[in-house]
Symmetry: C2
Subunit: 657 residues, 2 copies
């Protein structure tokens, strides 16, 4: 009762609420009062009545209120008891007294490590926000047929209210708030120190959740894994620059390297996920995505009413429209590549016939044009892929993401590597290959970091300054405390972080350059290592300063990207074997017969592929000690169950007799 009252209390002057605000709901500024009242009462209602039992308050006007400010911003928080029961609902894993990870239960709370009294520092802010988001997402319509006051926003029993409001544009955004102090500490540990150090993965996980922490963990792992490669590459560069023959050894090293690092990453990733309690956490049943539409029916699993869309229809869309479209795009990309090579050949011939300054410039034009066209194609394709995947109408966000990743991945792979493959295997021109590789690596590196972090930062900074100047004239952003209302509005205006997709894609392409062709250009690994180091800083910077705080995502692994990297490493085996087979050094062993050479190359390649699969099979994905821990937990829970069984059987036997 006390809590109910405090939730309903008016906020104490200057927009400061009576609880710790965690999440912000921004409703459209023209939303009817009736709808808002209904929504707030539903959020505040007890769980027994189908509410979420969360605390929610309207955000007061900023220090320098303007006409155009949206008044419909709401702060959401929760009591400690509510958060703990939410953690139990979600099945969050926390460290137990004995050091193992167990699903948190309220009944057992005192046996968890770090649980002192009622909470502080037990749940991280990211976890609190994730719990609140989950509770908001599972706020379901009861018998309302539409949102009161908004007859166009239809509801049916069991429909998630927040998702419907989002898909209808009533709810503009839901985002978690930054925590100024924590952020300052994190950013200091992360990118403000000058000396190189390990990533503060625990802090990142604490502040941004497991998904982000795994990305930075992978980035760090990948960089360290590249170091031996880079170290071997440097002497190659310094001493044997023109001696292509030597790359046989380098290519062989490459083969082993890319298999082993991916296998070890799996183990590494599962260690991290175990430590963070996401390894054995069962995923909650996914709700349909907000954009999913279909005929209302009953979900065969949950029995709840929800839109259904026939799977066959989706499959038809995927295989009859999306697949041909992707293939067409690949063909187009190939076509553009051929035009580029024709143009380049023509420009070279013009230059050779009559070498002047202008023909020298002409030689560069095809490359520049090609680079520009590729970027444009990537951009257009990305929009098309998003449109198509949306149109395929996937029920789950995860399936939507997988289909999108696959589409974008294949096209980007093709666009980036098709010309290199053409140069390597059709033109067989290793000098040109080396040049193209170097150009691609260096330009993409510079462009990426500029586009990704510094441009958005600069834009954001301009916006911030404008706002700060309005409030406190003359002071800088760093050394002052903005009132909460202004801080919230500032964050609401920041760009939304769209997930780790683009970051992983970039790593994937870099991994491709190194694993496929670095034997031709041994400096590639060095460049990628340098790139990764700056990437860490720019990514950390953009997470802390440019984007809204994202909701944490309790990932147990890097998901579909593990598969993508493994596919790339299989392609790397084939490519490296072919490069070895084509090297003059190897050719010298088979002076009289090309056929013998090819047969041997193919045989060795098959052997290596088989070896790779056996290796994947032999190296366990989860380290032994974690496996033991997991089975112990399972064993204990089963023994407990069995004891319960035996005692209940005894009771029933006694009753029967």
């Amino acid at each position: 009762l006390q809590r109910q009252l405090s939730g309903m209390m008016l906020s104490a002057g200057n927009g400061v609420p009576s609880f710790t605000p965690r999440v912000v709901l921004e409703l459209a500024s023209d939303t009817k009062e009736e709808a808002i009242t209904w929504l707030l009462s539903r959020i505040r209602d007890t769980q027994y009545n189908g509410g979420t039992e969360l605390l929610v308050e309207q955000l007061g006007p900023g220090a320098d209120a303007q006409e155009k400010e949206n008044p419909n911003m709401f702060l959401v928080g929760a009591t400690w008891q509510r958060l703990l029961s939410g953690a139990e609902d979600l099945g969050l894993f926390k460290e137990f007294n004995d050091g193992s990870m167990r699903a948190f239960t309220c009944a057992n709370k005192y046996n968890f490590k770090d649980f002192k009294g009622d909470g502080d520092s037990f749940l991280s802010t990211a976890e609190c926000q994730y719990i609140i988001k989950h509770e908001l997402d599972t706020l379901r319509a009861k018998d309302e047929t539409h949102v009161p006051g908004l007859s166009r926003v239809k509801l049916y029993p069991g429909k998630s209210v927040i998702r419907r409001l989002l898909s209808k544009g009533i709810l503009i955004q839901v985002f978690p708030l930054h925590e100024k102090e924590e952020l300052k500490r994190l950013s200091f540990a992360w990118y403000k120190k000058v000396k190189l150090s390990f990533q503060p993965l625990e802090d990142i996980r604490h502040y941004y959740g497991e998904g982000q922490a795994l990305y930075f963990g992978f980035l760090e792992y990948f960089t360290f894994a590249l170091v031996p490669m880079a170290l071997i590459g440097v002497p190659y560069y310094l001493f044997d620059w023109e001696d292509y023959d030597k790359y046989v050894i380098f290519a062989s090293f490459n083969l082993v390297w890319c298999t082993v690092i991916l296998e070890l990453w799996k183990r590494c990733s599962s260690s991290l996920a175990y430590r963070w309690g996401t390894l054995s956490r069962k995923k909650a049943f996914e709700e349909p995505r907000p954009g999913f539409h279909g005929v209302l029916g009953f979900n065969p699993v949950t029995g709840r009413q929800e839109p259904l869309y026939p799977n066959a229809k989706r499959q038809l869309r995927v295989y009859l429209v999306s697949l041909p479209f992707v293939l067409l795009c690949l063909y187009l990309s190939l076509y553009v590549m051929m035009i580029y090579f024709l143009m380049e050949g023509w420009a070279l011939s013009v230059h050779d016939a009559e070498p002047t300054f202008w023909t020298g410039i002409l030689c560069f034009i095809p490359s520049v044009l090609y680079a520009v066209v590729i970027e444009i194609m990537n951009l257009i394709y990305r929009y098309a892929a998003e449109f198509l995947t949306e149109w395929e109408n996937h029920r789950l966000e995860s399936s939507y993401q997988n289909h999108l990743v696959l589409k974008v991945l294949v096209f980007n792979f093709f666009n980036c590597f098709a010309s290199l493959f053409y140069i390597a295997f059709v033109m067989q021109d290793m000098v040109l290959l080396r040049q193209s590789l170097a150009t691609l690596l260096i330009t993409s590196q510079i462009l990426n970091q500029l586009m990704e972090a510094f441009l958005p930062y600069w834009l954001q900074r301009r916006r911030n300054k404008k706002m700060v100047r309005k409030i406190h004239k003359g002071k800088t952003l760093e050394d002052q405390e903005l009132p909460l209302a202004n801080q919230v509005r500032l964050e609401a205006d920041m760009s939304t972080y769209l997930g780790t997709f683009d970051d992983y894609l970039e790593l994937f392409l870099l991994f491709g350059y190194v694993s496929l062709f670095s034997c031709v250009y041994p400096l590639a690994a060095v460049l990628v290592v340098l790139n990764n180091i700056t990437e860490v800083y720019s990514d950390a910077f953009k997470m802390c300063r440019v984007f809204k705080r994202p909701f944490s995502d309790p990932a147990a692994n890097i998901g579909v990207w593990q598969l993508a990297f493994e596919a790339m490493s299989v392609i790397a085996v084939v490519t490296n074997c072919s490069l070895i087979g084509m090297s003059p050094q190897v050719k010298a062993y088979f002076p009289d017969s090309d056929m013998q050479l090819i047969l041997w190359t193919v045989a060795i390649e098959h052997g290596l592929l088989a070896f790779k699969f056996i290796l994947t099979f032999l190296i366990p994905d989860v380290p032994k000690h974690i496996q033991i821990n997991l089975s112990r937990l399972e064993f204990e829970s089963r023994e407990a169950l069995k004891k319960k069984c035996v005692s209940s059987a005894l009771v029933s036997t006694l009753n029967a007799e």
Copy 2:
């Protein structure tokens, strides 16, 4: 109490016990009385006191008792309540009222389909026997340091008594009893009907358990899958016998066929396993195998005392002894093969130089010698493999089995196919390949069925007749009822069924002949279909008449064999592509360049392999409707848990306020 008494009651004359006997324990005839008394009392003791609460009685002497008869045979049974609580312990899945499969619980028993009153026909005899075996296996030593009366049989707290007695040879065997009536019904449905029909899988599962039923299911599936292949093969045989060119189409068909049938089998197998309730049943924690030895320590998972053996030591044995040994054997096998080809070449040259009757016979000698040597090598290798795997000292039976299967599989594959590969790719002699294939298929088929079913049957029949003659002179085995004691002793003398290993191995090799080379000899599929049909009958016959009834094995799939068949289908892609590349028809397309031909072949092969993996990935292993059922069950159990959580949270909140 009543049950306790009935368990202790003396058996009512002529060895007929007062309960349904299910399992027989045979102890060594010289076992001390003290040990027997102790064992029986431990078995009869209540679960609360660490016993098994099973019923056990000594088997009386046979109708025609002899001196040399072993008196120490014990019949084990259980009351219905005990069996039901055992089924709950084991987590057996049974059909629920709503048609779904759920883990059986005593509390909920009336909601299960087919549960009438207290049991009859609810648990199959195979299930009852499996439950009793499980309970016997988990009878653990308390604080005994050795078996009373047998100081050499050491015990420690938590050690499985039955396993220790087995490994010390005190317990000679534990086997389940046949059920005469049921067996008669089953064998009629299975192999006594003349008309062809589907396998009575449900009945097989009911009588022999899921492992056997899955084997027969797979055998049937494989036979049906071969029918299209056989139908296509016949016209090839009739019309285009000498036209090797045509086999391109056949090989392409082969490629698609072997990928698709294996994928579909996975779905089929999971449907069966779902229907039988083994798909989602969690395996119990495996006990160490009886032969496992090591230094006594504490199991990190269960915390129980048990022998421990360092994994590193085992790995060393596997990689430093077993692996080199297997490679050596493969080399030896290759060496023998080369000698065979040399001898054959020599014999042919002798025959060509001076063709007489004796040189004609000489031509056959190498083949016969080779076949004999191969059989001997297989036999010796099998013993060596068993010895080595035993010596590797695997803790779990499953890991022992996997290592043994792998060893035997690789060697058998090599022995059977090396000569065919040599003929196909080194000698490139398609006529010889066809001949060898036909010879191998037909001889192995005839030999197998003779050795596998009819020879043991004949031996068994002789033994039975001797015994029957002693009791009822003149009557035949079929039309009379043996007294229980004699029946039990008869069964105890039957050979022990050693599991489905050899049956699967045979199918694996047949699958190899068809998928690798049937394009060269299209009749192979027809022969294999015929073989499979007789195989069904001979296997059914040997299960019903030759062997002791085996304990059922609640398998959810065909285990490591699925992997083996898939590996074979990958090899089949490579082989078929090479055969296509070598065909004169394809060679005609590349008249001027062998290199072009090889490159194209390799490219297409890689494409096909990629396609195969994508296909494996795209076809879900579990059919949609079963996935839905499984997720529904999980959803329900989670919702139930959540409700419990919310109510307990409510209670704790109320208490706190």
